[in-house]
Symmetry: C2
Subunit: 414 residues, 2 copies
C-alpha cells in the first residue's frame, strides 16, 4: 500500500507532462485521514453549471456503494461535483455503505451548492471496512473555498493507493476549427483487468458535448483502452471511468448528435488520452518491471482475438517468463491453446518484437536464441500471435509478474 517503501515503477514516464486547466473545473485536495496518515487522500472537484457527464463502471456483480450511486445518478446527465477518496473502497459495506455514500453526497452538495444527485463519488482502497463519511464534514467545505484550476498532479496524487507515480495527461483537439482541451487523471494499480480495474479515471473537457454523445464516445473509447489492459486478471468492485464536459470552451458549437462529423478530431484525441492513461495504469501495475503488448491477428473474429490476447496477457506462466527475460514462446502456445477459441496449432506463428520465433506450429527455421534473449532485456515487450485463420485482431496490454507483486499483495492490509 502507498506509504510503504515501494520504489517508483521503472516504467514511469521520465517527466510529468504539464496538464493545462480546463475551463469550468476547479478542485482541491485534502487530508481527511480516511486511512492514510500524512498524505492527501481526498480530491474534491467543482464543475460549472451545465456540465454534462458520462461514465462506465465495473462489471462486477458485487459493485461498491459509490458505483451504485454513480450509475443511478448518471441518468440525469449533469454533474456539479466529484468526490474521490483513497484508502477505503466503501465496497461490501452493506447498508452502512449506502448511508455513507448518501452522507458524502449531502456534505459535498452543501459545499458545492448543488443537489446531492449532481455529486459523483468514487472510493478506492480496502474492501469491507465501513467508511466513516463524517470525516468529509468541514474537509469538503474547506476544499470548495480553496478550489483552483490546478495543479492536476495533486488530484492524481490524492487518489493513489498502491500506485507508485501520479498519472495526469492532456490532449488538444479541434471542433469545427476551434480548440478544445481534454485533461484526465487515473490511478491503478492492482485488480486491473477488464472490465475494468480498481482503476479510477476522470477525464474532463471544456467542449460543449451533450451527455448522450459523451456516453457514446466513452463507451466506445473504453474498449480499446481501459478494457484492453490487465495487470493480474482481477476485477475490482469499484472501477470507475467518468467523462465530464463543461462546455466552457469559447465559440465552440454545441454537439448534440452522436454522429456529428465535427467530432472526429475530438474522438481521436479522447481515444488517445484514454489509451495513454490505460497504459500508464499498466506501467504502474503492482511490481511491474516490463510493459507488455500482446497483438493477436488472424483470429476468426476480433472478439475471439481479444479472448486469446487476454489469455496470453493473463497467463501467470507467460508473465513470469517475461519477468525472467525468458523468451519462452512455448508458454504463449499454451495460453493460445487454453483460451478455448478456434486455433490450429499448425498454423500458429509467434513472435517477440519483430523476431519470428515459431512458424506454423514449430520453431521458426530462422530462430536466433541470442537475438531473442537480447530483445527480452528491454523494458517493453511485444508478443505477436498470428492464428492464421481469419481477419480478427486485437491488442491488449499488461505487465510482467514479479516477486514484488506477491510481496505487495501478500502484505496489503498489514
Amino acid at each position: 500500500m502507498a506509504g510503504k517503501d515501494v520504489p517508483v515503477s521503472p516504467l514511469a514516464p521520465k517527466r510529468q507532462p504539464k496538464v493545462p486547466p480546463i475551463a469550468g473545473v476547479r478542485f482541491a485536495t485534502a487530508e481527511a485521514g480516511i486511512r492514510y496518515k500524512g498524505r492527501q487522500d481526498v480530491w474534491f472537484a467543482l464543475l460549472d453549471e451545465g456540465t454534462q457527464v458520462a461514465g462506465v463502471f465495473t462489471r462486477s456483480k458485487c459493485p461498491s456503494a459509490p458505483v451504485d450511486w454513480c450509475r443511478e445518478n448518471l441518468k440525469q446527465g449533469s454533474a456539479r461535483a466529484v468526490v474521490v477518496n483513497s484508502g477505503n473502497a466503501n465496497a461490501f459495506t452493506g447498508l452502512k455503505g449506502r448511508d455513507s455514500v448518501k452522507l458524502t453526497a449531502e456534505i459535498a452538495a452543501k459545499a458545492a451548492g448543488c443537489q446531492p444527485q449532481e455529486v459523483f463519488i468514487a472510493s478506492t482502497g480496502v474492501i469491507g471496512e465501513p467508511l466513516d463519511a463524517t470525516k468529509f464534514e468541514g474537509v469538503l467545505q474547506d476544499c470548495a473555498k480553496r478550489a483552483a484550476d490546478g495543479p492536476w498532479i495533486d488530484a492524481a496524487r490524492a487518489i493513489m493507493t498502491t500506485d507508485t507515480f501520479p498519472k495526469a495527461l492532456s490532449r488538444k483537439a479541434k471542433i469545427d476549427g476551434k480548440e478544445v482541451l481534454i485533461a484526465g487523471i487515473a490511478k491503478g494499480a492492482g485488480m486491473i483487468a477488464p472490465d475494468m480495474a480498481t482503476m479510477l479515471s476522470f477525464v474532463f473537457t471544456d467542449a460543449p458535448i451533450a451527455a448522450p454523445v459523451l456516453q457514446a464516445l466513452l463507451s466506445k473509447g473504453v474498449k480499446g483502452s481501459f478494457n484492453a489492459v490487465t495487470v493480474d486478471s482481477d476485477t475490482s468492485t469499484s472501477d470507475t471511468l467518468m467523462l465530464f464536459a463543461t462546455g466552457k470552451a469559447r465559440d465552440v458549437p454545441a454537439i448534440t448528435q452522436i454522429g456529428d462529423p465535427r467530432l472526429s478530431g475530438f474522438k481521436r484525441a479522447l481515444n488517445s488520452i484514454l489509451l495513454e492513461l490505460a497504459h500508464l495504469v499498466c506501467k504502474d501495475g503492482e511490481g511491474a518491471r516490463k510493459f507488455v503488448e500482446v497483438r493477436v491477428t488472424g483470429a476468426m473474429s476480433s472478439r475471439s482475438a481479444k479472448r486469446v490476447a487476454l489469455s496470453i496477457a493473463n497467463s501467470p506462466l507467460v508473465k513470469t517468463a517475461i519477468a525472467g527475460e525468458d523468451a519462452n514462446w512455448g508458454r504463449v502456445v499454451m495460453a493460445v491453446g487454453k483460451a478455448g477459441e478456434p486455433a490450429d496449432r499448425d498454423r500458429l506463428d509467434i513472435g517477440f518484437g519483430d523476431i519470428l520465433v515459431a512458424k506454423q506450429g514449430a520453431r521458426a527455421p530462422s530462430y536466433d536464441e541470442a537475438a531473442v534473449s537480447d530483445y527480452m532485456k528491454g523494458d517493453t515487450i511485444v508478443i505477436t500471435a498470428d492464428l492464421g485463420l481469419g481477419r480478427g485482431k486485437s491488442t491488449v496490454w499488461t505487465c510482467d509478474l514479479t516477486k514484488a507483486y506477491v510481496e505487495i499483495n501478500g502484505d496489503y492490509r498489514s
Copy 2:
C-alpha cells in the same frame, strides 16, 4: 525445474504410502538423457494382453503430439505399453513431433512385442523443442528386460518435472465380493488448471472392466477431482490421465455394462484415488506453502458454483493474501463479483474455516480478527462462500501464490 535446489513442499505427505503391485503391470525406469542429467527420465510400462484403457486429455486447442497420438489410439480400447518421458513435452514441434511420437511407439512396440497402436505415450517438460526419439532406442528394450511389478515410487519419480515429491497411491475395492486393487501415479506441478494441467496421471487396476465402462467411470470421476484443482489457471498442452484395467484379479466377473451395480465400490475407490492424486498435485503446486479448499454453496446451479469457485481459486489477489496469511475477505468478494455468475452482494456470506467473516453483504457482527488471523497461519485454508441464491454447490482446490512460484517460473528454461 527438477534438479534445482527447490525444497520439498511443506504440504508433502509425511510418509510415502506403500503401493502394491497390480497383476498384469510390469515396468522399469531409465536414464535416456532427454534433458536432465543424472536422473531417471523415462518410465516404460508393459501391460498383459487384454488390458483395457480409458483416457481424458487436455482441452487445449494446441495439444501436444503425444496427446493427439493417445486420443487416436484410444478408440480401439486396448493397451500393451506406456512410455512417459520428462524433460521435453514434444508439444508444438510440428511434423517432427508427429514423427517423433511414431518412432517412439515403434521402438516401444518392438520392445513390448505389440503393435505401435497399443502403445500410449506422454511427454512433459519444455514446449517447442524437438524431441529426439532415437534416444529411446536400446533404452526401452533394456527396460522391457528389467521390467518388474514395482516399486511404483520409481515410476512416480521418473515422470517428475518441477514436482518436489513423487506421487503414488493405491486403493482396494470389492467387485462382487472379490478384492481388486487400484494403483496410480501423478505429476504436476505448474500449468495446473482444469481441464486439466501438465498433469500426467496413470491409474491401473487388476479389475476386469471393459474399455467403454472404464471410460465412463474416468470421465465422470475426473470432474470432481483433477478438473477441480488449479495451481495457476494455466492449462497445459499435454494433460493426460489414463486408466488401465488388466483384468488379472482372480475370480472377479468381467464388467461390461456401464450401469452394473457391482461397480459401486470400485467407483468409490476410483474417485477416492483420483481425488487424492489431484490433491497431491495441488499440494506440490509450484511454490505452494498452503493448500486451499474453496467451497461455494447457494449458487443458481452447480455449474455456476464451479465458475465462482474457480474465480476465487484463480485470483492472484486471493492467493497472495493467503500466502501472506491475511484474511482479506474483501478479495473473495471481488473474485465472486468478477466471475460473471449470478450473485447478490447483499446475500453473500463468506467464511474462513468455520469462522464467518462476512454476512449478507457486510462484515459479520461476530467477526473476530484475532481468531481469523490465527486460522490463516495453518497449512490448510478453507474458504467458504454462500451466495444465498439457490442450491448449486461446488468445491475446488488450489494453493497459495508465493514469491517462490515467480522464482521457479521466471527461470524455468535457464
